[in-house]
C-alpha cells in the first residue's frame, strides 16, 4: 500500500429537520403509510408550483456559519432533468451554478503514527435540493411500487475537496460532519432512516502523480459501510492498475452482504441533466440581517465549547474533546458544572466518561435520554466533594438514581445511611477495637510491611460498612501506630 496514495472526496446528503417539505406544505415525518405525505405539489399534478420553505434556508445558513463558509447573497435554484418513476416532475430542483454556501471547512483528528494531529477538510460547497421518492421493488410481484412520501424532503448536499487520504480520514470527516449537523440542529442524524447519506469519490495514484481516475460509491448510510466500501474500492483499484488495466470513471454501488463494490453506470451512460434556472422560483436572496438573525440563534459550536471547557474548567484537551463530540453531552456537562460549581468540573467529567458513559453504552441509550439527570449527577458529585459521600459508596448512589429510586443523591444517602463518617471521635473507638483484635498486623507493620497497614485500613472500613472517610482512617491509624 505504501507506494500508493489514496484520494477521497465525500458528498453527503443531509436531510434537513424542517416540519414541511422544501417546496410544499406536506409533512416530512418519517414512517407514514406510502404516499400519505405527498400533496399535489409532491406528486407533480399538472399546474402545481413550488414555493420555497424558508426554514430549509435557515438550516443552510446555520451550516454555512458553522463551517465558516461564504453564504451567497443570491443563489439560484436550477432544474436537473431526468426521468425516473420516483422523480415525479421529471426534474429535481437543486442548485447548480450558484450554491447557497461556498467554501468553509471541517477539522478532523487523524493519526500519523502514534500522535493524533488536526487536519482541515476543505468544503467545496453546500447546496439546497429536494429529495426524490422511493421505488419499492419488493412485494409487488415483478412490478415496482412508488412511495412519494420522501419526495420533496429538503436536503443539504455537502461536497468536500478531495482532501482525505484514507478510509479512516473519510470516516473521521463523516463523523465530524454528522456531529456538527446534529449539534446545530439541522438534521436528526438518523442514518438508518436515510437522514445522512454519503457518496465517496475514490481514486489512487503514485505519490506526486496527477490525480487518478475516480469512481463514485453511492449511498453509504453507515460509517462502517463507508469504511468497508472505501477499503474495498482502494484495493480493487490498486489491483486493477497493478495488473495493467485502466480505471474508468464510473458510479458504483456497495453491497454490504459481499463487502464488494460493483459498477452501476459508466461515464458513457452518464445523463445530460440539462440544468437550467428554474423559472418557477425566484433567486434566493439572503440579506446580512437574515444571517445575523440566524447567527444569534445558533448554539455555541463544538470547537468553541471545547476550548472554553479547557480554559474555564481546566479540563484536559482530551476530556474536553470527548465531552463535546455530542451537543447533548456538552450541555449535560455545562448544566452539571453550573449546579456543582466549577471546582468540581473535573470530577463531573470523570463521572461522565466513567460510570455514566459505561451505563449508557451498556443499555444503548443516548445521553439525551439518560435516566440520571445533569442536576442529579451534580448533586452527587457535590456530596463526594464535601466529604459526605465516599467515592466507593457514590456508585451505589449512582445506581439508585439511575434506577429512579430517589429524586436526588441526598435522599439516597439519607434513606440508605450512606453518609460518610468524618467524626474522629466516632472512628477512633472502632480503630482501637481493630488494633486490639489484630496484634499480628501491628507487628508486621512495625517490621516494615506496608501491606499490613492496608489490611488494617480494610478492617476499619469493613467495620464501618464503608462509611468511614478513608483518608481520615489513614491519618488516625498512622497516628495511633506511631504513638
Amino acid at each position: 500500500m505504501s507506494q500508493w496514495e489514496v484520494v477521497i472526496g465525500l458528498e453527503t446528503h443531509v436531510q434537513l429537520q424542517t416540519k414541511s417539505k422544501i417546496f410544499s406544505g406536506a409533512s416530512t415525518a418519517f414512517g407514514a403509510e406510502p404516499n400519505r405525505q405527498a400533496c399535489a405539489v409532491d406528486i407533480a399534478l399538472p399546474g402545481v408550483l413550488p414555493v420555497l420553505n424558508r426554514e430549509a434556508v435557515v438550516c443552510a445558513i446555520k451550516f454555512g456559519l458553522a463551517v465558516d463558509g461564504d453564504i451567497a447573497s443570491r443563489s439560484i435554484f436550477a432544474r436537473k432533468n431526468y426521468f425516473y418513476p420516483d422523480l415525479p416532475k421529471g426534474y429535481q430542483i437543486s442548485q447548480y451554478e450558484i450554491p447557497v454556501v461556498a467554501g468553509g471547512g471541517l477539522d478532523i483528528k487523524v493519526s500519523r503514527g502514534d500522535t493524533p494531529t488536526d487536519k482541515r477538510v476543505r468544503l467545496t460547497r453546500a447546496h439546497l435540493e429536494e429529495d426524490a421518492g422511493k421505488s419499492l421493488h419488493e412485494d409487488f410481484h415483478g412490478k415496482t411500487g412508488i412511495d412519494l412520501n420522501r419526495a420533496g424532503t429538503p436536503l443539504l448536499e455537502i461536497v468536500t475537496e478531495p482532501d482525505m487520504g484514507s478510509s479512516a480520514e473519510a470516516v473521521a470527516y463523516a463523523k465530524a460532519l454528522h456531529s456538527l449537523v446534529t449539534w446545530i440542529g439541522i438534521c436528526d442524524g438518523n442514518m438508518q432512516e436515510g437522514s445522512f447519506r454519503c457518496d465517496a469519490n475514490v481514486s489512487v495514484r503514485r505519490p506526486g502523480a496527477p490525480l487518478g481516475t475516480r469512481r463514485e460509491i453511492k449511498n453509504l448510510n453507515s460509517f462502517r459501510f463507508l469504511q468497508q466500501a472505501i477499503d474495498y474500492e482502494i484495493g480493487w483499484q490498486i489491483n486493477e492498475i497493478e495488473e495493467g488495466r485502466k480505471i474508468h470513471q464510473a458510479t458504483v454501488l456497495f453491497d454490504p452482504d459481499t463487502g464488494a463494490t460493483r459498477a452501476m453506470r459508466s461515464k458513457e451512460d452518464a445523463h445530460d441533466y440539462r440544468y437550467f434556472p428554474d423559472p418557477d422560483l425566484l433567486p434566493l436572496e439572503i440579506t446580512p440581517a437574515w444571517i445575523d438573525e440566524v447567527k444569534a440563534g445558533l448554539p455555541e459550536l463544538p470547537q468553541a465549547m471545547q476550548a472554553r471547557f479547557e480554559a474555564e474548567y481546566g479540563l484536559s484537551a482530551y476530556d474536553a474533546a470527548v465531552i463535546t463530540t455530542q451537543r447533548a453531552a456538552g450541555d449535560f456537562f455545562q448544566l452539571a458544572v453550573s449546579v456543582a460549581g466549577a471546582e468540581n468540573a473535573k470530577l463531573i467529567a470523570n463521572w461522565m466518561q466513567g460510570e455514566l458513559s459505561a451505563r449508557l453504552n451498556r443499555e444503548e441509550r443516548d445521553i439525551a435520554d439518560s435516566p440520571i439527570s445533569a442536576v442529579q449527577l451534580a448533586g452527587m458529585v457535590r456530596r463526594i466533594a464535601d466529604g459526605t459521600l465516599s467515592s466507593k459508596l457514590a456508585k451505589e448512589v449512582f445506581d439508585a438514581l439511575w434506577n429512579l429510586e430517589a429524586a436526588d443523591a441526598d435522599a439516597v444517602i439519607e434513606a440508605r445511611g450512606l453518609k460518610q463518617m468524618s467524626d474522629a471521635s466516632a472512628i477512633e473507638p472502632i480503630i482501637d477495637e481493630v488494633l486490639a483484635a489484630n496484634p499480628k498486623s501491628i507487628e508486621e507493620f512495625r517490621a516494615g510491611k506496608e501491606k499490613a497497614f492496608n489490611a488494617l485500613v480494610g478492617q476499619v472500613m469493613k467495620a464501618t460498612k464503608g462509611k468511614a472517610n478513608p483518608q481520615q482512617v489513614n491519618d488516625l491509624l498512622r497516628r495511633k501506630l506511631a504513638g
Binding site: 399534478l45 399538472p46 414555493v51 418513476p85 416532475k89 426534474y91 440539462r274 440544468y275 423559472p279 425566484l282
Partner: protein, 485 residues
C-alpha cells in the same frame, strides 16, 4: 342577453330580471346548438353548471351582491378545475379529472361566477391556429373555413359566437391577443406576475400569463379585477395591493402619447390590416392623442429568442407527463424506458413533440451557452428597448397579427410560417409587459382586425382606459358574426 356585456348581465341579475339558472340554461342551450359546428368547448357538464348557478341564486337570495355573482364564464382547458376534465387539448390528459382548482378558477368561484365549460385550445397551448388540439380544430365563427387563432382559440370562438359572455385565456407568446384579434374580441395579457399561475398547466413558466377574453375593455376590466392578486402558491406572483382595473375607464385621452414602433409598421403586415390599424390611430388622434415614432431595434430577434426559451422551459415542464401517475399510458410496453417512450410518443401530438425536441436540444450540454444563454440576453435587450420607448410614450400601438384569420391548413407545412403569426405579440411576453388586442375594423373577406395596445409594467388600468375610450366612439367590438346574432 346573449349579446349583452357583463355590466348589463350583472345589472339584470341584480334587478332580478333574470336568474343565474336562467342565464346558465340560456348559454348551455347556445352551446348545444352551435358547439358541434364550432368545436369551441371540449367539456360541458350541465349538472355541474346548473348546480353552480343554483348556488349563485341562493347566495343572492341571502343578500349577497357582487359584479360576478351568477355570471356565466368559460375556462380555457389549461386551467385545472376541480371535478372537471382538464385536458390541455392533449391526448396525454384526455382522462385527467383535476382534483383541485387553479387560483384563477377558485377566485371566480368565490365571486360566484358559473362555469359553463372548458374551452378547446392548441395542445399544451402550443399553436397559433388551434389546429394542434387533440380534440380537433376550433372554427372561426366569422368564417368556419378559417382558424380562430390560438392557442386560446376555443375561448375566442366561444365568446365571439356568444356561447359564453366571456372566457379565460392564457398568453405565452400571443395566445390571448392573437385569437382575440382573429375573432373580433377584446383580450388582455396582464403584466407577468399579476395573475397567479397556480393550477394553470405550464407551457413556458417565465412567459405564461392568464387573462380575460371578452366583448369589451369594460368587461375585461371587470374580469381582471376578479382574476388578479397575490397568491402565495405562485412564487412569481407579485405582492401588490388589489386593484380595481375599472377605475380609470372614463378618463379622457387628451394628451395621450402613442408610440408607434417603426419595426411593427414595415414589411410583413398585410395591407388590409395596415388600413384598419391606421384608421384606428386616426380615431385616437381625434380623441386627443398624439402619435410618435419609437423604435424596438431588437424586436426582430424576438421570435428566434422565444423559440429557444419557450421550448426549453416546455421540454422540462412537460416531463411530468410520463405515464406513471396520471394521464395517458401506452397499453402495451416492455420495460420502463419503453413505457416512457410509448406513452409520450402516443400521448403528445406533433407540435408538442417538436418543441420538446427543440427544448431538449437547446438545453443540452455544449449547446446551452450558445442558445439558452444567448436567448436570455436577447430577452433583456428587448425589455430595455421597451423601457427606452416608454420614455417617449404612454402606450405603444400596432397590429396584433400580421394578417386576418387564415384558412385551415394554410400554414401547416412549415412551422416557421406559423411561428411568424406571433411576430408582433411575442416581444411583449419576453419583456413581461401587459398587452391587449381590441377590434379595430375588418380586412380581407370581412374578417376582424385587431389593434394591439402595449403598456409599461402594471399599466393595465391605463390600457383598459385607452381601449374603452376608443370603444365608446366605435362599434367594431359590437359586431357579431352571423352565428353570433
Amino acid at each position: 342577453m346573449i349579446q349583452a356585456g357583463l355590466k348589463e348581465i350583472s345589472a339584470a341579475l341584480a334587478e332580478k330580471k333574470i336568474s343565474a339558472i336562467e342565464l346558465a340554461t340560456l348559454f348551455l342551450g347556445r352551446i348545444e346548438q352551435l358547439n358541434p359546428s364550432l368545436n369551441a368547448f371540449i367539456t360541458t357538464d350541465r349538472d355541474k353548471t346548473l348546480a353552480m348557478a343554483r348556488a349563485a341564486d341562493e347566495r343572492r337570495a341571502k343578500g349577497e351582491r357582487g359584479p360576478l355573482l351568477g355570471i356565466p364564464l368559460a375556462h380555457k382547458d389549461i386551467f385545472c378545475t376541480e371535478g372537471w376534465l382538464t385536458t390541455c387539448g392533449s391526448k396525454m390528459l384526455a382522462n385527467f379529472v383535476s382534483p383541485y382548482d387553479a387560483h384563477v378558477v377558485s377566485q371566480f368561484k368565490a365571486a360566484g361566477a358559473v362555469t359553463l365549460g372548458k374551452c378547446n385550445m392548441d395542445e399544451f397551448a402550443m399553436g397559433s391556429s388551434n389546429e394542434t388540439s387533440h380534440f380537433g380544430p376550433v372554427k372561426n365563427p366569422w368564417d368556419t373555413s378559417r382558424v380562430p387563432g390560438g392557442s386560446s382559440g376555443g375561448s375566442a370562438a366561444a365568446v365571439a359566437a356568444c356561447l359564453t359572455p366571456a372566457a379565460t385565456g392564457t398568453d405565452t407568446g400571443g395566445s390571448i391577443r392573437q385569437p382575440a384579434a382573429l375573432c373580433g374580441l377584446t383580450g388582455l395579457k396582464p403584466t407577468y406576475g399579476v395573475v397567479s399561475r397556480y393550477g394553470m398547466i405550464a407551457f413556458a413558466s417565465s412567459l405564461d400569463q392568464g387573462g380575460p377574453m371578452a366583448k369589451s375593455a369594460e368587461d375585461c376590466a371587470l374580469l381582471l379585477s376578479g382574476m388578479a392578486g397575490f397568491d402565495e402558491r405562485d412564487s412569481t406572483s407579485l405582492q401588490r395591493k388589489a386593484e380595481d382595473y375599472s377605475r380609470d375607464l372614463n378618463k379622457p385621452l387628451a394628451g395621450l402619447r402613442i408610440g408607434l414602433p417603426k419595426e411593427f409598421f414595415g414589411a410583413g403586415m398585410d395591407d388590409d390590416v395596415r388600413a384598419a390599424v391606421d384608421a384606428a390611430l386616426d380615431e385616437y388622434r381625434k380623441l386627443g392623442a398624439t402619435t410618435v415614432e419609437v423604435s424596438l431595434p431588437n424586436s426582430g430577434l424576438s421570435v428566434p429568442a422565444y423559440y429557444v426559451i419557450a421550448p426549453a422551459e416546455a421540454s422540462s415542464n412537460l416531463s411530468r407527463f410520463d405515464g406513471v401517475r396520471y394521464g395517458h399510458r401506452a397499453a402495451v410496453y416492455g420495460d420502463l424506458v419503453d413505457m416512457y417512450c410509448k406513452s409520450r410518443a402516443g400521448g403528445f401530438g406533433e407540435e408538442v413533440k417538436r418543441r420538446i425536441l427543440i427544448g431538449t436540444y437547446v438545453l443540452s450540454h455544449g449547446y446551452y451557452d450558445a442558445y439558452y444563454l444567448q436567448a436570455q440576453k436577447i430577452r433583456r435587450l428587448i425589455a430595455t428597448d421597451f423601457s427606452e420607448a416608454f420614455k417617449k410614450c404612454d402606450v405603444i400601438m400596432g397590429p396584433t397579427s400580421p394578417s386576418v384569420a387564415f384558412a385551415f391548413g394554410a400554414k401547416g407545412a412549415d412551422p416557421v410560417q406559423m411561428y411568424l403569426a406571433d411576430i408582433y405579440t411575442i416581444a411583449v411576453n419576453l419583456a413581461g409587459l401587459p398587452g391587449m388586442s381590441i377590434p379595430c375594423g375588418f380586412g380581407n373577406a370581412d374578417m376582424p382586425v385587431g389593434l394591439q395596445i402595449i403598456g409599461p409594467w402594471f399599466a393595465e388600468a391605463k390600457m383598459l382606459n385607452v381601449a374603452h375610450q376608443y370603444q365608446l366612439v366605435t362599434d367594431w367590438h359590437r359586431r357579431r358574426p352571423e352565428r353570433g346574432a
